[in-house]
């Protein structure tokens, strides 16, 4: 009897060890799978041109020729500056507009509270390609095509609803007593929001703005339709490499590496709030 139970215990120990090995194997495969394209892009960007087409070359002397080319000949800095200007200004505007609205949604119960929130969620669902044509026509009519201000305003379409949902979540977490105390002390609601509440939700503001910056930086459809020469942003840079494929993969990868670097760093900063941002504020994470 004892021998049997000992045997089964040993067996259970073995199966547990096998199970753990499988778990680690799975996790390693998933991690490699997730980072491999990034890794490959960096590799290609550092290869000399003659090795670009040979995936069997793994060990080579890295060169930065591709990076020099994209900054001198392909004018990458212009794209980066456009992207940065658009992302930063649309985020600032979205934060101002969205945070004030979110505070209202969080602190007051009124007739259309839920309907409005669902309306904002609905905007998140509308495919940008379905509304970009009228935006293009309107912009052409107003002579603002290919300007950064057009992109800044257009990006509010997805940034403001996101900010409202995110910040409403952060406001909901603040106990009401905090501001009631301030209001008893004679602060108006605006003063309370400005002096008491905003400092408390500062981490939320930072997380939300970083998410807005990332999604604006990566946005492709609006940028593709609404810009052509002056205000092109980095995601549409792939355009330049669609027609001449097979020629400049190294440069393409250099462009990709440079333009992905800032968002990757930003994303790592908001890791703690990543789940919240991904789910439109629905999951606290």
């Amino acid at each position: 009897m004892k021998a049997i139970s000992l045997n089964s215990q040993k067996k259970r120990g073995v199966t547990r060890r096998v199970k753990r090995a499988l778990v680690y194997l799975g996790v390693i495969i998933i991690s490699l799978w997730a980072v491999f394209p990034l890794f490959w892009m960096v590799i290609i960007s550092l290869k000399e041109r003659i090795y670009t087409y040979d995936p069997s070359v793994w060990i080579f002397r890295p060169v930065i020729d591709n990076y020099i080319t994209v900054f001198t000949e392909k004018n990458l800095s212009k794209f980066l500056i456009n992207s940065a200007v658009v992302a930063i200004f649309t985020t600032i505007l979205a934060l101002i507009i969205g945070t004030i609205g979110a505070y209202g949604f969080s602190r007051f119960k009124f007739k259309y509270n839920q309907a409005f929130l669902f309306f904002l969620l609905g905007i998140r669902m509308i495919p940008s390609v379905a509304i970009v044509i009228p935006i293009f026509i309107l912009a052409r009519f107003l002579h603002v095509l290919d300007t950064r201000i057009l992109l800044i305003i257009t990006y509010l379409i997805f940034n403001v609803p996101f900010t409202v949902w995110m910040m409403k979540g952060f406001f909901d977490e603040i106990p009401k007593e905090l501001e009631e105390a301030a209001m008893v002390d004679g602060c108006t609601r605006i003063q309370t929001l400005y002096k008491i509440i905003l400092p408390v939700v500062q981490p939320g503001l930072v997380a939300t703005s970083i998410f807005c910056i990332i999604s604006s930086w990566n946005e492709f459809v609006y940028a593709l339709f609404l810009t052509s020469i002056k205000s092109v942003t980095t995601p549409t840079i792939v355009q330049m490499f669609l027609s001449i494929q097979g020629v400049a993969w190294g440069e393409m990868c250099a462009v990709g590496t440079v333009s992905i670097l800032p968002v990757l760093i930003f994303a790592m900063i908001v890791q703690k709030n990543m789940i919240r941002g991904l789910s439109f504020g629905a999951v606290k994470g």
């Binding site: 394209p37 009124f110 792939v238 994303a267």
Partner: protein, 297 residues
Amino acid sequence: MNIRSKGVPARGKAHLPFVAPTMIIMILLIGLPIVSVVLMSFTNYELAMPPDSLRWIGLRNYTKLLFGQNKLLYYSLGISIGMMIIATAFQMVIGFISASLLNQDIKFKALVIACLIVPIAITPSIASQVWKLMLNSEFGVVNYFLKKLFGFSVVWLDKDNALLSILLVNIWLMTPYVTLILYAGLRSLPQEPFESAMIDGASSAQTLVHITLPMLKPLILITLLFRSIDMLKMFDIPYVLTQGGPGNISEFIGLHIYRTGFGVTTLVGQASAISVLLILIVCAICLLLIRLMNTKD
């Protein structure tokens, strides 16, 4: 999804100064394009046409699309909805499995999560371009590995495999999103039901079906909602990988709008009609999934 307001009932119009500016701006920003796209869908508008030949043609764009000779709309809706279902299913299943793995007691968890954030943060159009290089049939690294390990290679972006390639990149790009959300969900589940299930001798499959999945249901449905709509919205990946080709094989609905209005033809009126149809379909799917969420609670 916590939508109920915890706030105080607004006395009079106390909420208006906060809510009204946001709502007015958003209604203008989204209302203007939607009203114009609906109006334009009733016209014969073309990009390069002289302004005086603009005509109101009623429902003719719609009848041409729905009952005309060219069945491309149906094909493109078909592959879009097919891709939506298949890609979402893959993402949910792989995402759930990897979330369960992540939920185990493992070392270097932060590093694994950092790896998973890469596809989420990366610019999709640039990532697709890198995949295009990796999937190249002659000098792509994917075929290099396939040849080394299994002795065969695949022409990834030809007419037989274009859709498969797009599915593959889709799964790569979007699954980490599902993984991280479901991982957060798994982590937040209470421990007691699992402990009592273990005492009762439930198998892990039983625990999964009767405890884990029901408790995660709200979260799974929300993720499903976002994933499926995002699949319908997909534009960057096929645009970069195949541009809708070869022929029209991978002309998803978004690309169909683009090609009709700005690419192969410049029939903006007709492209607007497709846009209106797409918006209606998205609304229908949203309502369906939201109803599903509410009835099951």
